[in-house]
């Protein structure tokens, strides 16, 4: 009985934020929605990289390449020049294309590991960037290509067509894409957690902790290493499609090594091997620079964009803060935001409600035991 109750509360713990996220487009303006959209796209990509680098322990610096395959795959498949497929089909094929790209790399991924795999994947980013710049007819070269809007059964994820106003709120591109992002992110969250808690997830964690032990327990080492790469690439492809739709234009310079490093930072800041952690890290890394740029004039020591002079611009400032955050987290919470949250929860639970500073409201304390039962490998 209490087990069922706690499970229900655990579900509620997910349902409530989801409802909140659904309501946000009615209250937030386009700037905030765009931050949310980029965060959701980044979270999808980060969850994918988390599977590969966090759970399976394979360092990949090539995530930007697979994001690019997804983004450009969609643009080319749905656009002109290109086959001009229906956009929804193009999006699906772009995800599969990214998976196939990961599969093509799997002979390498199945054999090389650790820092060597990192360097091998580094080559992918440079190769990809070069192709994006030179294959003009497909990628549009340096200037990139504009992204055809997604269309699902006559509904377009753009400013109009059909015009839509809900509860007095005009639904433009950001509002519509927000819900698309939310659906894709939920699917990612659901599937990635299923994977990690199921048989494949345990095999991947075993690979990371000891390949020898994994193999004598019956795990086909090379196959699982490659599979981790393919699955991670598919999530990256999905993130790429969503990013392309949000940017409405894809350019080669976005998909550089720095992007790969950003994704690594997300999963480290969030906490390796955890889906919730990867999400938190993705939001942190994505939102921070955008917020700092927006509120630059209110921050000390940060100049408003374009004012010049000797002071630090908002982009650099956010870079510094972001670097400092990584160092602080590595020093004080090596298991990332996820570990920090878990330990805080454990501490709150241990403390008797009567003693100490004002305890958190009782509904949250009752919800926590349910949450604490979920473990993340």
């Amino acid at each position: 009985m209490s087990d069922r109750l706690s499970r229900l509360l655990g579900r509620g713990g997910l349902l409530l934020p989801l409802l909140l996220l659904c309501a946000l487009p009615f209250y937030l303006d386009a700037f905030w929605l765009r931050i949310g959209l980029f965060s959701m796209a980044a979270a999808i990509g980060a969850i994918g990289l988390g599977l590969l680098s966090g759970s399976a322990g394979q360092l990949s610096l090539g995530h930007a390449f697979f994001l690019a395959v997804g983004a450009y795959g969609y643009v080319w498949l749905a656009g002109e020049p290109g086959p001009g497929l229906p956009p929804s089909l193009a999006a699906l094929l772009a995800v599969l294309l990214a998976g196939a790209a990961g599969g093509l790399f799997s002979p390498v991924a199945g054999r090389v590991k650790g820092i060597y795999l990192g360097v091998a994947t580094l080559a992918l980013v440079f190769l990809g960037h070069h192709v994006l710049l030179t294959a003009d007819s497909v990628t549009g070269g340096f200037n990139g290509r504009s992204v055809p809007p997604l269309e699902l059964g006559g509904f377009t994820f753009a400013e109009s067509d059909p015009e839509l106003t809900l509860l007095g709120v005009p639904f433009g591109a950001e509002e519509r894409l927000w819900y698309l992002g939310l659906v894709l992110f939920s699917v990612t969250w659901f599937t990635a957690r299923g994977l990690l808690r199921g048989r494949p997830g345990r095999a991947l964690v075993a690979l990371r902790d000891s390949e020898t032990a994994a193999s004598v327990m019956g795990v086909h080492v090379a196959r699982y290493r490659s599979a981790a790469f393919v699955v991670s690439s598919m999530y990256a492809g999905l993130a790429g499609v969503l990013l392309a739709l949000s940017f409405r234009r894809v350019v080669p310079d976005y998909f550089s090594l720095a992007l790969s490093v950003d994704y690594l930072a997300m999963i480290v800041i969030g906490g390796l091997g955890s889906v919730a952690g990867a999400t938190a890290g993705a939001v942190f890394v994505t939102a921070l620079p955008l917020l700092m740029t927006r509120y630059a004039d209110q921050l000390p020591l940060v100049a408003t964009p374009g004012s010049g002079g000797g002071s630090i611009g908002p982009t650099e400032a956010s870079r510094y803060l972001y670097g400092a955050a990584i160092v602080v987290i590595l020093l004080y919470a090596p298991d990332g935001l996820h570990g920090l949250a878990r330990r805080t929860r454990a501490r709150l639970r241990r403390r008797p409600p009567a003693a100490g500073p004002p305890p958190p409201s009782s509904p949250t304390t009752t919800a926590h035991p349910a949450r604490a039962k979920e473990h993340t490998p």
């Binding site: 345990r202 327990m217 080492v221």
Partner: protein, 259 residues
């Protein structure tokens, strides 16, 4: 699966000129406990690594019933029902349940797609295997720790997690590499009891590498003694204990008073 004899025939392993195993042969009778003993560096762990497929022998064969193990990859050997533990504990992150469920890997089917979509088939399979894993945890006395993180367990308990994980493979042959190394007397006695019980209950063959002669003498039906990679003696524990070659290998002398 029906019991089958594990036959080791003329296995030789060389590491860059060093002969780690030299023409070693022995047969593990189905359902028996077969101990492999010998001084440090005699080739006991090498022997285990050949049996579980981690090393390929330069010569010789290992057969389990009709199946030849010598050329198979470790995961294929595991699927045939050969499970092992390690001398130094090798567990993975997570709870005892996670580790035991890894032991069920070869027996379950759910792949990436089925697990990601949480298809009813995958969920059912996972539930069934979890129930069996819980049973096995009970068998080795780990039931109270089933949902605890392995990292928080005592040394002796972690050793038993390894044993339980190997048992989760439902093995026909269980390879135990120093199951009581580093344990205190109480933990040792408990482990001996556990091994005896699981053997009786599950009817599997056990191959045991161990330095603790007390354990070997109490548990083993047959003993093979290795020294510098060669099998120098075979027999029951009593026979082996009196073998002059064995005394020489262990004590470096042939004088009778050393016994």
């Amino acid at each position: 699966m029906a019991p089958a004899a594990l036959e080791v025939r003329g296995v030789t392993v060389r590491f860059a000129g060093l002969v780690a195993l030299d023409d070693v042969s022995f047969t593990v009778t189905p359902g028996s406990v077969h101990a492999v003993i010998g001084p440090n560096g005699a080739g006991k762990s090498t022997c285990f690594n050949v049996l579980s497929g981690l090393y390929r022998p330069a010569a010789g064969t290992v057969r389990l019933g009709d199946a030849e193990l010598t050329r198979l990859a470790p995961h294929r050997i595991a699927a045939l029902g050969v499970a092992r533990t390690f001398q130094n504990i090798v567990t993975t992150q997570g709870t005892v349940a996670d580790n035991l469920m890894l032991g069920r890997h070869a027996l379950s089917r759910a792949g990436f797609a089925a697990s990601a979509l949480r298809l009813p088939r995958a969920v059912r399979e996972q539930r069934a295997h979890l129930a069996r894993a819980r049973e096995i945890a009970g068998l080795v006395g780990l039931a109270p720790h089933f949902d605890s993180p392995v990292a928080l367990l005592s040394y002796g308990d972690r050793k038993r997690v390894e044993l339980a994980r190997a048992l989760c493979l439902e093995p026909r042959v269980l390879l135990l590499d120093e199951p009581v190394a580093g344990m205190n007397a109480a933990e040792r006695a408990r482990m001996t009891e556990v091994v005896r019980e699981v053997r009786a209950e599950l009817g599997l063959s056990v191959v045991l590498v161990e330095h603790d002669m007390g354990l070997v003498m109490r548990l083993a039906d047959e003993v093979t003694v290795l020294d510098f990679g060669r099998a120098i003696a075979h027999g029951t524990p009593d026979e082996v204990r009196r073998d002059p070659e064995v005394l020489r290998a262990y004590l470096g002398t042939t004088t009778e008073d050393a016994a």
